[in-house]
Symmetry: C2
Subunit: 477 residues, 2 copies
């Protein structure tokens, strides 16, 4: 409710201003996501890349429109708050408080966005298929963590004479995989339910768990100089118990849940029941120090086995359309790309190190495709490329490293540059290695592609379960 | 992302805790809304009543689960934060900060909920029909503001010897109409597009504008002892310019917008374009000191005239299902019903005054139905009853009055009791008077008529614009 002119207490008066700031942020976010997405769709790039780039454009690096509170950023840095201040003049204290509140709201909305995204990905995955490719995904995940970690750490020590602890930290930052970005690109390319897609998703989920463990290890190393084995053990056990427990319990509970739903008479019964389940598992995953998105993914996976799957996919779609772009725009908006400027001498050392890190980051993940065993004909390059984007997970490593004082400015900048480039390169690369000339020409799978049959479903893109051509081998591209 | 164990800075570590608190609040909110809604649906009451009652149950009055920051409420008052503190121990400063942040997020989500609700109501309304009933709605709105205001103020002065300024304030609090609650009940009863429904919606929208003007007048009266006519004039002009301007401009712009949408290739193009439009108008309405929901309603009304109306209604449905319950649960959760306890001697004076206010509040709105001119056969009682709920708008009056020191504790409590009872009584009353026009005309709604309630189809419930069954005559029941 908005009665700003009359509310006496300062705190109560902020409410409508926070709402106004959030509404304006959402308008800018949606405009940026649509303009960026549409441009990329027209030049045959995945639309998520456009969202990331336009996120950078409206964010801290350029237009200062979508600004999230962080060290050194205050309300007066935000162009949106300045605009709001023009129409409703505020004291600078109020300005900062409104800025913090709107930032908090947009942050949570973006986190709800990636939770809904992973819930949707889970809903469209098949537990059976995921378990079938599980061993292959596990190998991909482990190699994808070990290879860049060892090569990165060793290279930094040998070539750049970095001390051991910071080198281990930077090596650890190379292990992450951003499941959100990969999953979204796979969905856009209609490859989510292909064998490659399921291996990538399975490996990315495991990689997320491994990443959390690696981060716990290096963070305690950075803080105390030694590894707190008990904490790491608790983390490993709780991750295992959570993922197995959620799926076993969930499969037993979900038929009861759906029976309950069919008894309900009020509006939105399926959706709300599913959201309660997804948010509850997200909460549990969050509280046991895992990531909320793992809980959402598990919830989606469980509900995908019920007879309501299609109804749920249909209903979650508009919610994902509303919330997911907020996530990608804020990932871009938070990214300070000024470290990429080679004309700034302060950046040069970081850029040189980053060139090395990027090579390791890409090669270390690309080789994982060839570790997949089994007789299947697979697009091995695509599997490796799917693991490339570090996204927000990589940035967490950099921020933890900087906060604990382990990373030098140059090394921190090098990690940030590596994260930016792997994140932004992965979507077009993934499209390239999955390329099908028909699809690319039309921007969408062509009728020929659709008629050809195959495993993948395009449901995330247009809500219809249409089939696409099987992935082509690299040499055919 | 959730890496609480390792983040060094206190502020960064709060992020995952805020997310956890929001997720838990949403789980409780959805559980309360479904349980309350389902119980009411089974005993032939509007489900929104169940949501309000269960909102009270989980809120500040009882279980302290869904708690929103307000004067005197801190993190340690929230059972959810206590639970979170069990799994992740926090310093009390962190606890309060996390509490404030999650409250801010839930508040904004609930405001987005009522914005989406009014957008949806706008989408399901017809501008032509609304303009046709406009003059009738205007009379209903004006009488519905004037009658309770005059009767309330005069009665308080004459019977209870209240001083003039507080009496005017309390009288003003009687003028409000909660469009959200009325609209939701009308939608549930499938009467939104009936003549009565459109008159109620039109009158409630105008009443909202009038309420803002009345509030501005009495608030400046309370603060400075005189009315700042210039501010009031600006408010009236800007409200008029906004509503007329939005609709004229919007009708001219919306075909262009829809042409643009049909050119887009990325996912969610219709929905996101519509949301940009709705949030932008909400923002403008908010900034010019009107209510955001008026902008959302105007946006819905405009987009209802495009060829995408049905597609949009279909897509906005799951979003409304997700966000609207948050609004109704928080309306209940914020309401402190302890003022209703007659065993507390401190409440008695307020309760006696409130009995008078409730009579005026109900009669002052019910008579408006008979001011509707024209030859149509209308359910006049239903129109009047539709204007009864004061909802959150009434509470704003009480909080402004208390904050400015004009209202005594007893008078403030009396207003709060009046708001609670009108809000909670209106849904079942509205259902009752829409049961059977014949009986209603006689002023004797029978329990038999109530039992026949299964007949009305709920268009918002099942997404189909089906006409309600004609009301049954008593002998058919």
């Amino acid at each position: 409710m908005s009665y700003p002119i009359v509310l006496a207490s300062a705190e109560a008066a902020e409410g409508p201003l926070v709402l106004a700031a959030v509404l304006l942020s959402l308008v800018v976010t949606y405009l940026a996501s649509k303009i960026g997405g549409e441009i990329c769709a027209r030049i045959n790039l995945p639309s998520v890349l456009g969202e990331l780039v336009f996120g950078v454009l409206v964010g801290v690096s350029a237009l200062h429109l979508v600004m999230l509170p962080a060290d050194g950023i205050t309300g007066s840095d935000s162009m949106l708050l300045k605009l709001l201040n023009q129409s409703t003049p505020m004291a600078s204290e109020t300005l900062n408080s409104v800025f913090r509140s709107q930032g908090e709201v947009i942050s949570v909305l973006s986190e709800l966005g990636v939770i809904i995204l992973l819930f949707e990905i889970g809903l469209e995955s098949q537990l059976k298929e995921l378990l079938r490719v599980g061993p292959q995904a596990a190998v991909v995940a482990c190699v994808g963590v070990a290879a860049p970690f060892i090569a990165g750490t060793a290279g930094l020590i040998a070539i750049f004479h970095v001390a051991t602890v910071p080198a281990i930290f930077a090596g650890a930052a190379l292990t992450a995989t951003s499941i959100g970005i990969t999953a979204r690109v796979l969905a856009e390319l209609n490859r989510l339910s292909s064998s490659e897609g399921q291996i990538i998703i399975g490996a990315a989920v495991l990689d997320d768990v491994l990443g959390i463990i690696v981060l716990a290890i290096v963070a305690s190393l950075a803080k105390t100089g030694e590894v707190e084995l008990s904490k790491v053990a608790i983390l490993i056990v709780s991750a295992g118990v959570f993922l197995v427990g959620a799926i076993v319990l969930g499969r037993w509970l979900s038929p009861l849940l759906m029976k309950l739903v069919s008894e309900m008479r009020t509006r939105g019964q399926v959706l709300i029941t599913a959201l309660i389940f997804a948010f509850l598992l997200s909460y549990v995953a969050n509280v046991i120090q895992l990531e909320a998105i793992l809980g959402a993914f598990a919830a989606g996976l469980i509900l995908a086995e019920t007879e309501r799957q299609e109804e749920l996919i249909e209903q979650i779609k508009p919610i994902a359309d509303m919330l997911v772009p907020i996530f990608f725009i804020t990932v871009g908006a938070r990214t300070d790309v000024s470290v990429l400027n080679p004309f700034n001498p302060a950046n040069r050392e970081g850029l040189i190190i980053s060139a090395f890190l990027i090579v390791v980051a890409i090669l270390g993940k690309v080789i994982t495709g060839w570790t997949v065993f089994g007789k299947e004909k697979l697009n091995r390059l695509a599997i490796g490329v799917g693991m490339i984007p570090r996204g927000e997970v990589g940035l967490v490593f950099a921020s933890v490293g900087t906060a604990s004082g382990v990373l030098s400015d140059a090394l921190n900048a090098a990690i940030v540059v590596m994260v930016i480039l792997t994140t932004f390169l992965a979507p077009p690369l993934l499209r390239l290695v999955f390329q099908n000339p028909n699809e690319v020409a039309a921007g969408l799978p062509s009728p020929v592609g659709l008629a050809a049959g195959g495993g993948a479903e395009l449901s995330l893109l247009d809500g219809q379960a249409v089939e696409a051509e099987p992935a082509k081998k690299p040499e055919e591209v």
